[in-house]
Symmetry: C2
Subunit: 481 residues, 2 copies
């Protein structure tokens, strides 16, 4: 294994992170808030370490060649180390390191669970920093999902192999091109979202911060009441639109720039997500109308916003939907697992895995009845590669097993069952809010013990990197090979 | 499909059930309790329908030839219809049909969840009937698991194919021999358990009833306080022993009659179960000693009894372990999923599936690191048949998905999250007690709405017949083929 390629890449990324820290430094300087020094100092420290790491690597490491095992290690280490440095400004502002690391990991994994309280009274620098973390994390995961995960064949992601992610242990041709296109469309969507938010009444600061956390399906807000602060029907509909856009596969979006919107609708994943969102939102709206007498138009906005917020794994809250009754609670618990499309900023199990699992189960039943039948499984009009079905099902099984293990770990630390189960699910799915008084939509993760915050940070990392990328490092054979 | 073979078999089984109903009739007659008429009438009605069904079938249906599709239908219909008739005595005693069907299904699936209260004041006839249902259900599932499920290739059960369960669409040679041996050893263990219970202080009635529900890992008791009624250390240790015996694979037990106890220990499933039970019991005992100051010897009995009761899916309760704190709750929640060995009376996911899943995951990780490696997976010293790994993993995924779906269904019916989630898990796993005030170890299923009782009856059936046997009937291709 060539560790210098790993240190080089992480070094370069740290230098980029250091640059990003200058943004909150600037806004605090404009606001005459002395916190700018914290950001400036953190930026300096991060840049120092980053440049050391990248400079110690020899020039030939720059070729971007990377092997499979290096890929796993690089991806996991990147998220752990970038989080560690992203936490520095929080520490500088007097937040304990457990809280700071949790907040940074929650930001970069675009989970959106927060341990900070009284957001409305915090200086703009720190609020901007949280939003930037989600913006960067969102871009990071799209690039990882397009370039790295298919190459590592993680949990069925080999299905999304493009020319730039072939497992040839060679360089990534055209990767740079694809990354630029992705970053371009991601940036444009953020700008479009920010402008619309501002036009519809947000301050330009709120608009920018929320645009970053909408498209990254992150869900950090600048207000304790989250998106509910704005109390604006039009803002909520706009947010629904951009949360959905953030959970669509970016490669398909790039293609639709030439092929038009029908390209999007022809994609099985996109269609599955939209049908799911519409169905569940309608069901919940009808439930709200029938059981609580909410006018249907009001109910459909409420249900759509919350369903899209959870399924896209954004985690914005406009009201405490756990007060909607047992059906809503059960439904939102289940929705926490699902997630958006692969190659987007959203987390969860991902739509394509559930679709493939559905056809695998159908196929399995057919074979139980007629054992000698041979069926060809297809997805998105193409034959499924031979190793995809098993990878997908193993992923789903490990996903659910992980939630079980995290639930027990958290219950050892003293959390009640609903809190430990739902916080495990919401962290692994990178959603944000869980259920119950503590981690529910009306709660806050700040009162959890520090140990639980570390466990949940680990869960966020695992979920974000599709489990296997991290878990494989714990296998002896990884280090022996 | 030859429906007459199905009706013949069910008819014969109903006649047997009618005979069994004469036992509680006799005991009520001895007690001069007029309830004997209810049992006698139910017996007559059941025998009438049973003999009609078996006599209308032509003689050639008696040959016991059965096809795959007939096998699925026969197995599922048997459990549904036998439960319907087993519920008759409860109805005759003034219990509503929803409650009666729930109790009968809970008995025959050896789940052990009950809707009856004030058991201590009930006449002996009905108490005996509940125990007999579990005794019969236990034998029924062992025979099904040895003869039918491997033949149907359900969820990896093809691993346990013997000469008597080959998928040849032919007759079952030697099936009768294996069934007799199983019934013999099962009956002997029940007698041995009953005698030991009686010697250690139970009344002979209690001893017989509890022996039936111990070996069937069912868990119905004749007392509201369940096994806690007896307050006897020695009875609890004996119960632990026989619950474990009930969750061992009966085919291996038969083999060990010749080969000695090392045959048992050499079996990977048996070893896995014992190691699991010892480890978790020790962990919980240490937890109890450290957090609650319970003397270690007392703690080890408490923890072992409850762990064995849940993992063997018996469901006896000696105390409310949900008062042991969050770790115990989380742990017992997880244990609800596991279950005992295949080919025993216990439910859950089964030890062998978890063991196979573990090696599959290990294998998957190795391949992620070294894609071109070819590994041969083995279980119990033999190569895994080609279709077992996928069947096992699909089973686990559907098992967990089913719990999710049942949870939402139950929450629609108004149950809170802990109740709906844990009752779904405990019913699907055929365990018995769930978590929370209502369905927890100190609670009772009687206060649930009738609709929830039907949903849970369905969950018990699904879990008992290893999901696929029932689910396959809902597929259009089953009826088209």
């Amino acid at each position: 294994m060539e560790f210098r390629r790993i240190t080089f890449t992480i070094g370069v990324l740290l230098c980029g992170l250091a640059m990003a820290m200058l943004l909150p430094a600037s806004i605090d300087l404009i606001d005459s808030n002395l916190d700018w020094q914290v950001f400036a100092f953190a930026s300096g420290a991060t840049f120092f370490v980053g440049s050391l790491l990248s400079l110690t690597a020899p020039l030939d490491a720059v070729s971007m060649e990377v092997g499979v095992r290096e890929g796993f290690l690089l991806t996991t280490l990147t998220w752990i180390i970038i989080s560690a440095f992203s936490a520095l400004p929080f520490v500088g502002l007097g937040i304990g390191y457990s809280d700071a690391y949790f907040e940074a990991m929650s930001g970069l994994t675009t989970t959106g669970a927060t341990v900070l309280v009284q957001l409305d009274h915090l200086p703009r620098g720190i609020l901007l920093w949280r939003s930037i973390l989600q913006g960067l994390g969102g871009l990071g995961i799209i690039v990882t999902a397009i370039v790295m995960l298919p190459f590592l064949r993680v949990g069925g992601m080999q299905l999304f192999q493009t020319e730039s992610s072939e497992r040839s242990e060679k360089t990534f041709p055209r990767a740079a091109q694809l990354i630029s296109a992705t970053a371009g469309i991601y940036g444009l969507l953020i700008v479009a979202c920010a402008i619309t938010y501002a036009v519809l009444g947000m301050t330009s600061f709120d608009a920018f911060c929320h645009a970053l956390t909408t498209l990254s399906t992150g869900g950090f807000s600048t207000h304790d009441k989250s998106f509910g602060f704005f109390q604006s029907t039009s803002l909520e509909w706009v947010s629904i639109l951009f949360m959905v856009l953030g959970s669509l596969p970016f490669v398909v979006m790039i293609k639709s720039l030439n092929g038009g919107p029908t390209v999007l609708w022809k994609d099985e994943q996109v269609r599955g997500l939209v049908i799911l969102l519409v169905t569940v939102s309608l069901l919940l709206a009808i439930w709200l109308t029938l059981t609580r007498g909410t006018p249907f138009l009001e109910a459909i906005l409420s249900s759509t916003f919350n369903v899209v917020s959870v399924v896209s794994t954004t985690g914005y809250v406009i009201e405490d939907y756990t007060l909607w009754g047992s059906f809503a609670i059960g439904m939102f618990f289940l929705l926490t697992f699902i997630g958006g499309c692969a190659g987007s900023t959203s987390g969860g199990m991902k739509i394509y895995r559930l679709q493939i699992a559905k056809s695998l189960v159908g196929d399995h039943f057919e074979r139980l009845v007629s054992p000698h039948r041979v069926l060809t499984l297809r997805y998105n009009g193409r034959r499924l590669p031979a190793d995809v079905p098993f990878s997908v099902i193993v992923f789903l099984a490990i996903y659910m097993a992980s939630i079980g293990i995290f639930t027990v770990l958290l219950s050892v630390l003293g959390l009640d069952l609903v809190t430990s189960l739902s916080s495990a699910a919401t962290s692994l799915g990178n959603v944000g809010p869980g259920l119950g008084d503590i981690v529910g939509p009306a709660g806050n993760f700040s009162t959890l013990p520090n140990s639980a915050k570390w466990v949940l940070s680990m869960a966020m990392l695992l979920g974000r990197l599709e489990l296997f990328t991290v878990l494989v490092l714990s296998r002896p054979e990884f280090w022996q090979a």
